[in-house]
């Protein structure tokens, strides 16, 4: 009994040392494993501002409108998200520049705002842009909406200031109150307070997500290749003849690649927190738990791929498909709630989806409101382990 256990342990550990040595002795792989993730994160942290550049805007103001023609006059109203580059009355020339993407936005003022206003009619402000990117399209709409609001406010203020004729009749016997033009134009204002424990910051927000993505990708790619190589080389035949259980191979491989994943995760976390100053608000153990579960599930996914593919090329292709799916459906780039239900289910079957949510929560909030995702991650890992175990067992059975 004890001898059997010792032998089983020997078989399992032999796979750990074999896999570790094989990876370590491939300098290219080692380089991309150790330095690759950090280089990606470093380049991302240093190079991504997360800010939209101001929209270059031409204002088309007809001379009959009686409005000012100085760029500086309008710039004070539009804020930092818009740069007024020109004020003109030639709408065609302005459209040409928009068509050639020299500017981002065209605001066409109506000819008779004041007159219509006095007659109790609404004037239309033309907003034109030339955008294919749906995200920037939304942004342009939002900015346009805001500009119109600002412009309306300016008009009301201007008119009220000139006329001083807007009084508010209060209830009861009190005399009417005379209000300032600013209050009439904007009776309310927003006072914002973000309850999140850290100020939103692009690097801090995306760093845990990149870490999760890198860990999953590394785990999947390394393990996807490890077993398929053995199957193709014929080593699996030797394993089939040897007194070896599929579980011993599987556990050995899990432990070997977990060693890599956890080592690299530790190094990257240290660099993130120490160098890029990404906050770590939860106890490190909670982040370590997420990383361990994410690694467990990712290695399972990679090993499952390696037991079902027929070539190294197929393994790489499937790993890349997993990466692609992870980038699109994990919430890394696009919010999950923007997907239809079936796709959200698919998204939640990816380990990285839970990894991103949990790492962001633990690192940046200090806790999570999505505790169930820890269970989901463990569940995915367990299911993958069981399925891989069955598949490998079938692979090792006599053909």
């Amino acid at each position: 009994m004890l001898l059997g256990l010792l032998k089983s342990l020997t078989r399992t550990t032999s796979f750990i040392s074999k896999e570790v040595l094989e990876v370590v002795r491939r300098p290219g792989a080692l380089f991309s494993l150790i330095f690759g993730p950090f280089l990606i994160m470093g380049a991302f942290g240093l190079g991504y501002s997360g800010q939209y550049k101001p929209l270059n805007t031409i204002l088309v103001v007809p001379s009959s409108a009686g409005l000012p023609r100085e760029v500086s006059f309008y710039q004070q109203y539009v804020g930092q998200s818009v740069t007024v580059v020109d004020v003109t009355e030639d709408v065609n020339a302005a459209r040409d520049r928009l068509r050639h993407q020299e500017v981002d936005l065209l605001v066409i003022a109506p000819t008779d705002v004041e007159e219509k206003f006095r007659n109790g009619q609404q004037s239309a402000i033309g907003i034109e842009y030339n955008e294919l990117d749906p995200v920037r399209d939304n942004y342009a709409r939002f900015i346009a909406y805001r500009q119109v609001q600002e412009l309306n406010r300016a008009i009301i203020e201007n008119t009220v200031a000139r006329g001083q004729q807007y009084l508010v009749q209060t209830t009861g016997a009190q005399p009417p109150v005379q209000l300032s033009p600013q209050i009439v134009a904007a009776p309310t204002r927003a006072e914002l307070r973000n309850l999140a424990p850290v100020e939103p910051n692009v690097v801090a927000y995306f760093a845990p997500a990149v870490l999760a993505l890198v860990l999953q990708h590394m785990g999947v790619t390394l393990t996807a290749l490890s077993m398929v190589r053995e199957r193709l080389s014929g080593a699996m035949d030797l394993f089939r003849v040897a007194p070896l259980r599929s579980l011993e191979i599987l556990v050995g491989k899990y432990l070997a690649y977990a060693f890599f994943n956890l080592s690299i995760a530790s190094a990257v976390c240290f660099l993130l927190v120490g160098l890029l100053k990404v906050p770590l608000l939860s106890p490190p153990g909670q982040v370590a738990t997420v990383i361990a579960l994410l690694s467990f599930a990712s290695l399972g996914l990679g090993l499952l791929i390696s037991t079902i593919v027929d070539s190294e090329r197929q393994a790489v292709q499937l790993s890349m498909l997993v990466l692609l799916a992870s980038v699109f459906f994990s919430g890394f780039v696009l919010p999950l709630d923007q997907f239809i239900a079936p796709l959200r289910i698919a998204a939640y079957s990816l380990p990285v989806t839970h990894g991103i949510q949990l790492l962001q929560d633990f690192m940046l909030r200090g806790d999570t409101n999505h505790g169930w995702e820890l269970g989901a991650l463990a569940g995915i890992g367990l299911v993958l382990f069981l399925v891989t175990s069955v598949t490998l067992r079938r692979n090792m059975a006599p053909a």
Partner: protein, 328 residues
């Protein structure tokens, strides 16, 4: 869809006299292709069975069935008293296997590879370290123990695989084309090692494409198109191929070989040249004096006479000829 594994399921206890490998009517089909067809053979304890045949004759399929990686479509197989598909761990620990191609890790050193395989077969430290050293020395790779497998030559890689197959000191060794692509010197050394193992009580089943290597085996199974064409000792194979023992006689003058057909023990006479005769006999030793007398009686003069030992290439060609013709 073919039916797999129809043999009995219970393990039969081994006795010292039992053959270690028993094959009864084993066949393996791949859809329409017959890889092994109705093969029956035994491998006795402490012997070398050479399985000889051209590429595609079914040698590797037979080995894979015997090592439990491939199921027979029909027939019965028993190795070390067990059905291969139901090998226990204990039985697996007694089997050594050297695959046809290099399957070890190219990134590990020679020593690490042998140690890895030793671990797979359950060798515990410190015995593992000792055995690794012993087998590497045995195959002359101890000096190269620190070199990665991919840095070794083809011959060294084969020797490394042999070391891996031997490291756990198996009772029964399956070796699939161990000498393929090796130079004659190295082939000779490997066969010397196999015979040493046999003399030490191990049992070996060795496949080879080199027909001449049959000479080194105790028993030879000749496979062609998946069929067992012959199974016998090398000497017996020679006899079967040529129809008996052959005496080669050279005469001083042209001699009519037909005159010798009446001599007792002569089965056939082949006049390969006017002065050269190949005479098939029941027993060459007994036939030679009678043949010499018969030649003298008819006025002939013998310059030389000896037992003719054809090469195994010739023996093999004669044995598989009918099968090849039938297949064609």
């Amino acid at each position: 869809m073919h039916r797999h594994g129809t043999c009995q399921t219970r393990a039969v206890p081994e006795t010292a006299e039992d053959p270690l490998v028993i094959v009864r009517g084993a066949s393996r089909y791949y859809e329409d292709l017959v890889a092994v067809d109705d093969v029956t053979l035994d491998v006795a304890r402490g012997t070398i069975l050479g399985v000889i045949g051209p590429s595609g004759s079914g040698k590797t399929t037979l080995v894979r069935m015997l090592t439990g990686t491939l199921l027979p479509t029909k027939g019965e197989l028993r190795v070390l008293g067990q059905e291969p598909r139901k090998f226990t761990r204990h039985v697996r620990e007694r089997i050594g296997y050297m695959p046809q191609h290099f399957v070890l890790s190219e990134e590990l050193t020679a020593r690490e590879n042998v140690s890895f395989v030793a671990s797979l077969f359950g060798l515990l430290w410190p015995r593992r370290g000792r055995r690794v050293r012993e087998v590497l020395q045995l195959v002359d790779l101890w000096e190269a123990r620190g070199r990665r497998a991919r840095q070794l030559s083809g011959g060294m890689q084969r020797r490394l695989e042999l070391a891996c197959a031997l490291v756990h000191d198996p009772t029964l060794l399956f070796v699939d084309e161990p000498t393929a692509g090796l130079d004659p010197m190295l082939r000779q050394r490997i066969w010397t090692e196999f015979r040493r193992l046999r003399d030490a009580g191990r049992t070996l089943l060795v496949t080879t494409q080199y027909v001449g290597e049959a000479e080194y085996c105790d028993q030879v199974a000749v496979l062609a198109n998946g069929r067992l064409v012959a199974l016998a000792s090398p000497e017996e194979l020679r006899r079967r191929a040529l129809g008996g023992e052959v005496v080669e006689v050279e005469t001083a003058q042209p001699f009519d070989g037909e005159l010798l057909r009446a001599v007792s023990g002569v089965r056939d006479v082949d006049q390969s040249a006017p002065r050269r005769l190949l005479i098939v006999t029941d027993d060459a030793g007994e036939a030679i004096p009678r043949l010499l007398q018969a030649v003298s009686r008819t006025g002939g003069e013998v310059i030389s006479s000896s037992e003719y030992r054809p090469s195994f290439d010739e023996v093999f060609a004669k044995l598989v000829e009918p099968d090849v013709a039938r297949a064609a």
